[in-house]
C-alpha cells in the first residue's frame, strides 16, 4: 500500500493563467500531477478544464490568440521555455473527447506517432502495435483485422484505438478530455477499466463532465469554476466533505 504522499510529482502547475485574445480562460491555477494517480478534473462548461488540458501538452500553441502566464514543469523542466513542443506532446499524450481515428488502417493509426518519430523497424512496430492495443483492451477484438480501416470500428472501439495510439508513443502522462462523452455505458465501462489499468504506469488527468465518472475512477479530484481552481482534494473528501460550498453544490447536482 502506497500512501498518497509517497507518490512522486510528475508535473507542476504554478500560477498558471491562460487568455484567448482578451478572454481569460484560466486564472492563476496551481496544483501537481502525480505519478500512478488519476486526477479527475470536474466543473461546468467554460470552467477552463479544456484550456488547462491543452496547456499541459502545448496543444494551445496552434491558436494564435493564445497567451499564458505562470509556469508548468514536467519533471522539473519548464514546458514552455526549456522543452520543444513536439517533445512535450510525445511525453504528455492526449485522448480527445470524440473518437478521432485517422482514416487509415488500425495498424497505421497505432503506429502513427512512432513512425513519424522515425521508427522503421517492422518487427518493433508490430510488437508495439500489439502491446499498445493490449494495454487499451482492444487487442482481442481486432487482432485478426489490423489492416481494416479504423473507420469501420464502433465508437467505443475507436476510442480505445485512440488510447492505444497515444500509448504507442510511450508517454509519461496521459490526458483524457471527456473521453466517454460520445460512448454508450458499456463502452464507457471498458474505457474506465482501461484508465484504471493505465494508472499503474502513468500519471493520468481525466477531464470529465460526468461527476459520477470522476468519483468512480479518480484518486484526487479538482473542481474548476469560471477559470479558477476552487478545490482539489482526495476523491472521498470532494464527494463527501468538500470544504467549499460551491464544490458541494456542484457534486450534489444543486448547481446553477
Amino acid at each position: 500500500m502506497v500512501s498518497p504522499t509517497a507518490l512522486a510529482t510528475k508535473m507542476h502547475v504554478k500560477d498558471w493563467s491562460v487568455w484567448y485574445g482578451r478572454i481569460q480562460a484560466l486564472t492563476s491555477v496551481s496544483f501537481e500531477i502525480q505519478e500512478r494517480d488519476i486526477l479527475g478534473v470536474i466543473g461546468p462548461a467554460n470552467s477552463g478544464k479544456t484550456s488547462l488540458l491543452r496547456s499541459l501538452n502545448r496543444m494551445n500553441d496552434v491558436d494564435p490568440t493564445f497567451r499564458s502566464a505562470g509556469q508548468i514543469t514536467l519533471e522539473g523542466r519548464d514546458l514552455y521555455r526549456e522543452l520543444d513542443s513536439r517533445q512535450v506532446r510525445r511525453r504528455v499524450g492526449i485522448v480527445f473527447a470524440l473518437p478521432l481515428p485517422l482514416p487509415l488502417s488500425i495498424r497505421d493509426n497505432v503506429t502513427y506517432g512512432p513512425r513519424l518519430r522515425g521508427e522503421r523497424n517492422a518487427a518493433r512496430l508490430e510488437e508495439l502495435t500489439e502491446r499498445s492495443l493490449r494495454a487499451a483492451s482492444l487487442w482481442e477484438e481486432v487482432k485478426d483485422r489490423l489492416d481494416l480501416t479504423a473507420m469501420k470500428l464502433s465508437g467505443g472501439q475507436q476510442q480505445r484505438l485512440c488510447i492505444a495510439r497515444t500509448l504507442a508513443m510511450d508517454p509519461e502522462v496521459i490526458l483524457f478530455d471527456e473521453p466517454c462523452s460520445g460512448l454508450d455505458p458499456i463502452s464507457t465501462a471498458k474505457v474506465e477499466e482501461t484508465m484504471l489499468q493505465l494508472k499503474e504506469h502513468y500519471a493520468v488527468v481525466l477531464v470529465t463532465n460526468n461527476t459520477k465518472q470522476a468519483s468512480r475512477v479518480s484518486d484526487r479530484v479538482a473542481f474548476f469554476l469560471m477559470g479558477e481552481l476552487v478545490e482539489l482534494d482526495r476523491v472521498d473528501v470532494i464527494f463527501t466533505a468538500p470544504k467549499d460550498r460551491r464544490t458541494e453544490d456542484y457534486v450534489t447536482g444543486r448547481f446553477g
Binding site: 496552434v62 506532446r89 499524450g93 480527445f96 485517422l102 502513427y112 513519424l116 495510439r165
Partner: protein, 287 residues
C-alpha cells in the same frame, strides 16, 4: 370562389415557371447544337487513320497526328509544371500563412490572375519565356505560359480540397508529436489528393482548348516532323483548327469539323474524367 387575385397569382406562377424553364433551355440548347453539329459534320472524316497520319496536300487532306501529339505533350507538360507549384502554394496558404496583409494580397492576385484575358498570357509568355529566357517558341515556353494561366484553377481547387480535410486530423497528428510539415504530409495531403487531382485535370482541360496563349509561344503552322525535345515547336489542335479554318484556302469542311471534333472530344473527356473521379472519391470518403 376563385377571386381575380387568385387567378392573377396562378398566371404569375405560370409565367415565372415558363421563363425559368426557357432560360434553362437557352443554356442547354447551344451545347447540344454545337456538339451535334460538330459530330454530324466531323464524323465522316473521323477514323483511327485521321488521328494517326500526317496532314497532306498543304493540310487540305490527311490526318492530324502531329497536332494531336503536340497537344497531348503540351498539356502533360503543363500539368507537370503547374501541379507542384499550385499544390505547394495552396499548402502554404491553407496550412501555414496567417491571415494578414500579404496573404490577402496573394489571394487577390490569384483571383485576378483567373480573370486575365488569355491573349495577355500569350503576350506575357512571349516576352518572358520565348524572348527573355531564350526558350524560343517551344513546348517548354508554351507549357510554362499555360501553367501560369491554369495556376489559379489548381490553387483554388487544392485550397478547397485541403480545407475540406477535418481540422481534427491536424489536431490528432500534432498531438502525436508530429511536426507541422509531417502533419500536412501524412494527415492532410493524402486526404486532399482526389480534390487536387480533379482541379488539376480541369485546369489541363482548359489548357488543352486555349489558342491565344500558345499562339506566340509554341504553336507551329506546319511541321513535317514531330517535336523531339521540349525546346521544339509543336503543332497543336486549337491552332491547327484556326490555321485550316482561316489561313488556308479551300480546306474541305470535313477536315475542319473533324479537327474540331477531336479537340472537343479531348476537352470533354478530360472534364468527364474529373467529374467521375470526384464522384468516385466522394462516395468512398470515410469521414
Amino acid at each position: 370562389m376563385r377571386s381575380p387575385s387568385w387567378r392573377r397569382a396562378v398566371w404569375t406562377q405560370r409565367l415565372a415557371l415558363s421563363s425559368l424553364f426557357l432560360a434553362t433551355m437557352v443554356a442547354l440548347v447551344p451545347a447540344v447544337v454545337v456538339i451535334g453539329l460538330v459530330l454530324a459534320r466531323g464524323m465522316p472524316v473521323f477514323s483511327w487513320k485521321f488521328l494517326t497520319t500526317m496532314p497532306t496536300h498543304g493540310m487540305r487532306a490527311g490526318g492530324i497526328f502531329p497536332a494531336v501529339i503536340g497537344t497531348l505533350e503540351l498539356v502533360a507538360l503543363t500539368g507537370i509544371v503547374a501541379l507542384p507549384v499550385g499544390v505547394l502554394a495552396a499548402i502554404y496558404l491553407t496550412e501555414y500563412a496567417r491571415d494578414h496583409g500579404l496573404t490577402r494580397l496573394v489571394r487577390l492576385a490569384i483571383v485576378n490572375l483567373a480573370g486575365v484575358p488569355s491573349v495577355v498570357y500569350g503576350l506575357f509568355g512571349l516576352g518572358l519565356f520565348v524572348i527573355f529566357c531564350r526558350f524560343g517558341a517551344s513546348l517548354l515556353a508554351g507549357a510554362l505560359t499555360l501553367a501560369i494561366m491554369i495556376l489559379p484553377v489548381i490553387i483554388t481547387a487544392s485550397e478547397e480540397a485541403l480545407r475540406s480535410v477535418p481540422q481534427s486530423f491536424r489536431e490528432v497528428s500534432l498531438s502525436l508529436g508530429a511536426s507541422r510539415w509531417q502533419t500536412v504530409r501524412y494527415a492532410v495531403l493524402p486526404f486532399a489528393v482526389p480534390g487536387i487531382m480533379t482541379g488539376t485535370i480541369l485546369g489541363m482541360s482548359r489548357a488543352a482548348g486555349e489558342t491565344a496563349p500558345i499562339l506566340f509561344t509554341v504553336a507551329a503552322f506546319y511541321l513535317p516532323r514531330l517535336p523531339t525535345s521540349i525546346f521544339d515547336q509543336a503543332m497543336v489542335l486549337p491552332y491547327h483548327l484556326y490555321v485550316i479554318s482561316t489561313q488556308i484556302p479551300n480546306v474541305p469542311d470535313v477536315q475542319r469539323y473533324g479537327t474540331a471534333m477531336v479537340l472537343l472530344g479531348l476537352v470533354l473527356s478530360l472534364n468527364i474524367v474529373a467529374v467521375v473521379l470526384r464522384a468516385h472519391f466522394r462516395r468512398k470518403r470515410q469521414w
